[in-house]
Symmetry: C2
Subunit: 318 residues, 2 copies
């Protein structure tokens, strides 16, 4: 244990790297009422960053700013030591190059007060491989957001081999405290969870374009007019829990399991062992948390109506 | 050409198979003001169907019923000939078994007046392989909806080798006329478009559960709190068009192309040839239809705020 401050007492956040993702974090932390110190080596970084914050502010205002939140609580510097001095939390969002991340995380670690946690926005590297050059590997942790970080709630938190357990817990607590939806993973997997799922879909989409099977526009419409509407509130597991009718996921896997053998994607399916079948059924039931299929159907229909209306997708009529 | 009636003059629709998908079609056509004749061999089919329509009716009412629409315009029969007699369009939604589909489509074809189009809700079979036993293969066409068909707009329409071109056009026109969002594919691909994309994601999810990398609940949260929110209005192509900053999809592919080699999913990526790169960039620009990256960012943020609010996902604050 260290003399780390409690998540509720964080007042100043350093954002290292101020591109699309780093700038999105800056906007989010400002809207949540923090003082933000941003660092970026690019000559035009400050201008681009202030433009990004300005563009994000109306949406953030509409969702509700924290008391006293102001876009003016932003300091931009090209001196790393100046950015991290006085920070209670550091979020690194440099370009996705392993060598660069290793060097930069070592530099940040060397310049940042010992008790401060340093999170990385990496899209897919594990902290074990990124922290090799840093002395303070125990306080380095992955905190992977989604674009735009100022509106998408998800942050995936996962430590490397050297990351202290209390750092993982502190980071999850802090990010939840500021309004994020946090998934804590207990092991490093390249791409974490959401990017692995997104990447599988993306690669299949690229195969379809490469083979002339679908255009980019058809691919997008197939998602936004179809399963994408459901994925805004029910993930793939609950979606398939409802696809089998009253029997739920168990019926779905027992009756549609053979479709895993269909050539419906270039991705080979895992063998549907009894163990896998039972894990999926039990996990889905746990997620449903007592909601029956009929409950979930009502929930789905209510939310679909709201989402369709918000998106202007109400049918014209016959 | 036949003496087919124009799509606007369709008054009666036959729905063959009344499970989750067939029943969803029944509810949709009733809400759009059609007379519906449903056929299903199960003893309890009528009771289950009327329960499904009743459960769907509040959502359909909220979205706006067609003038005169009534849940009472439904006839349920266990005689196939009775169901299709007088129908102006037939939608088949039998279980996803090829032999069963072949037999049933041949039977429907034999019983249905010559000028009537017959669509199939199949999740992934091509009409070429399903129509082998039917005499009238020219008027058989895939019209693949998403669950629930009464709320999800997407229908994928694609003909088989024997399907007449005017049948594909008629079906697309009819379904658009009743308020559906139609994608017409010009070639048969197993699983069509959206199910291929969904299946790639689903298989990667199953691999993660099988390997203990993520629980079903984490998988769902990673989508509903993350990329699923964007997929309700921007598909994977427009999403990545915005991921590269002002340079759009071209910048994205030129700079993040190497991540296709990362082990972020079990699905092997296609080679990112110049041709594929150019097809994706051109297709995405065409879809953007003059909207700049800044326009799309504003659109995304506005819709994300609306969707987040509808889903109750507004951050609590610091």
């Amino acid at each position: 244990m260290t003399d780390r401050i409690t998540p509720e007492r964080v007042r100043t956040v350093a954002c290292i790297g101020a591109g699309v993702i780093g700038g999105g974090w800056v906007a989010y932390f400002l809207a949540r009422g923090f003082r933000v110190r941003a660092w970026d080596p690019a000559a035009d970084a400050e201008a681009r960053l202030r433009t990004l914050v300005e563009a994000a502010w109306p949406a953030l205002t509409e969702l509700g700013l924290a008391p006293g939140a102001s876009g003016d609580d932003l300091t931009v510097t090209r001196e790393l030591a100046e950015a991290v001095a006085g920070a209670d939390y550091v979020q690194e969002s440099a370009p996705e190059q392993l060598d660069l991340k290793r060097r930069l995380l070592a530099d940040i670690d060397a310049a940042t007060p010992e008790h401060v946690v340093i999170g990385s926005s990496t899209s897919g590297y594990g902290m074990t491989e990124m922290a090799v050059d840093a002395v303070g590997g125990h306080r380095l942790v992955v905190a992977h957001p989604f674009n735009p970080p100022y509106l998408i709630p998800l942050v995936e938190v996962v430590g490397g081999k050297r990351t202290a357990a209390d750092v993982v817990t502190w980071t999850a607590d802090f990010l939840r405290h500021v309004g994020k939806s946090v998934i804590v993973m207990d092991r490093e997997v390249p791409g974490f969870i959401a990017n692995r799922l997104q990447e599988a879909l993306w690669r299949e989409a690229l195969h379809m374009v490469a083979n002339g099977e679908a255009t980019p526009e058809q691919i997008d419409a197939s998602i936004t007019e179809g399963p994408g509407l459901r994925w805004a509130f029910h993930g793939p597991m609950l979606t398939f829990h409802l696809a089998g009718g009253p029997g739920g996921m168990a019926h779905m896997l027992d009756h549609f399991g053979p479709s895993l053998l269909s050539p419906w994607t270039r991705l080979e399916a895992p063998e549907l062992t009894t163990e896998l079948r039972d894990s999926v059924v039990a996990g889905t039931e746990e997620e449903a948390a007592g909601r029956t299929i009929a409950d979930l159907v009502r929930e789905r229909d209510r939310l679909l109506v709201d989402v369709l209306r918000v998106l202007g997708k109400v049918p014209d009529g016959a």
